[in-house]
């Protein structure tokens, strides 16, 4: 009887964890994908714009150059 109760508790905990993980994922995914989410004050928009990274192309070409030089 005790073993069966223990199993049920474990299953319930696992189920609760799965639901919690699903909920967190859902909130995270939709917060990310929803346009215009978050603040729209000028300083918040400035921060958003500051976070836009056009990327470092040089570092990606370094490995190509390394291979080219080893011909």
């Amino acid at each position: 009887m005790n073993t069966q109760n223990g199993k049920i508790i474990i299953w319930l905990v696992v189920l609760a964890l799965i639901i919690a993980a699903g909920f967190i994922w859902y909130r995270y995914y939709f917060a990310q994908s929803e346009p215009l989410s978050g603040e729209d004050t000028t300083s918040a928009i400035e921060n958003d714009l500051g976070a836009v990274d056009l990327g470092d192309l040089d570092s990606d070409f370094q490995s190509v150059d390394k291979d080219l030089n080893s011909f």
Partner: protein, 221 residues
């Protein structure tokens, strides 16, 4: 008589005040509703644009891949025929790297443009709120339109870049380095040109739109 005049005067003063207060209240409610509608409309537009861009880029990529499939297979075949195993491995690696870089960076640029579009949406929304508070946002609207056009031009350029392929023309084993270097330089020129040209222009245009918003009085109220 005086009493009647006093009552009449009070009524004449109170009634228009009540009507005015009610009108202002209704106008404010209307403006709030308008902002909510504008936000929903902007969200819908941005989402649709993002989905359409992703879909379009993937279609163009598929078409481009299919177009050069035979040429790529031919080059791979030529590389496989090389006698020097070390050179063969390097050639295969560079061939793969060049095309992966184009794919990776065009995806990145496309994501950046979507991000800029989102940010511009926030500028538009803030401008709408500021307008509802009675401020003049004509300059912001002009800057937003300009930014939209710049983003659209950058999107087209990214699409053109997706269509490109970088396949070395292998004539002989001793000219392998030159053959791959030509393609490497071409890709380098194209990606740097895109990033430092239209991509930076797009970011600058959004920055300008934001700047035009920042100078509007009481913008963050």
């Amino acid at each position: 008589m005086k009493k009647y005049l006093l009552i009449l005067g009070t009524v004449l003063l109170v009634i228009p005040s009540l009507v005015l207060a009610q009108t202002v209240k209704q106008e404010k409610a209307g403006l709030r509703e308008n902002i909510e509608l504008k936000k929903a409309e902007l969200q819908k537009n941005i989402k649709e644009q993002k989905e359409a861009t992703v879909k379009r880029i993937e279609e163009v990529r598929k078409e481009a891949k299919a177009k050069v499939e035979a040429k790529r297979a031919e080059v791979k075949e030529k590389i496989q025929q090389l006698k020097d195993e070390r050179k063969k491995a390097i050639a295969l690696r560079i061939d793969e790297q060049l095309n992966r870089l184009n794919e990776q960076w065009t995806k990145h640029f496309s994501n950046v443009l979507n991000q800029l579009n989102d940010i511009l949406g926030k500028v538009e929304l803030r401008a709408e709120k500021t307008k509802a508070n009675g401020q003049d946002v004509t300059a912001v609207s002009t800057a937003v339109e300009k930014a939209k056009q710049t983003i659209a031009a950058a999107k087209s350029a990214v699409e053109e870049q997706v269509k490109k392929s970088y396949i070395a023309t292998i004539e002989s084993e001793d000219k392998l380095k030159d053959a791959f270097k030509t393609q490497r330089d071409l890709l380098h020129k194209d990606l740097f040109g895109l990033r430092d040209g239209l991509m930076k222009d797009a970011r600058k245009a959004v920055q300008d739109a934001l700047q035009s918003l920042r100078v509007v009085p009481e913008v963050d109220k």
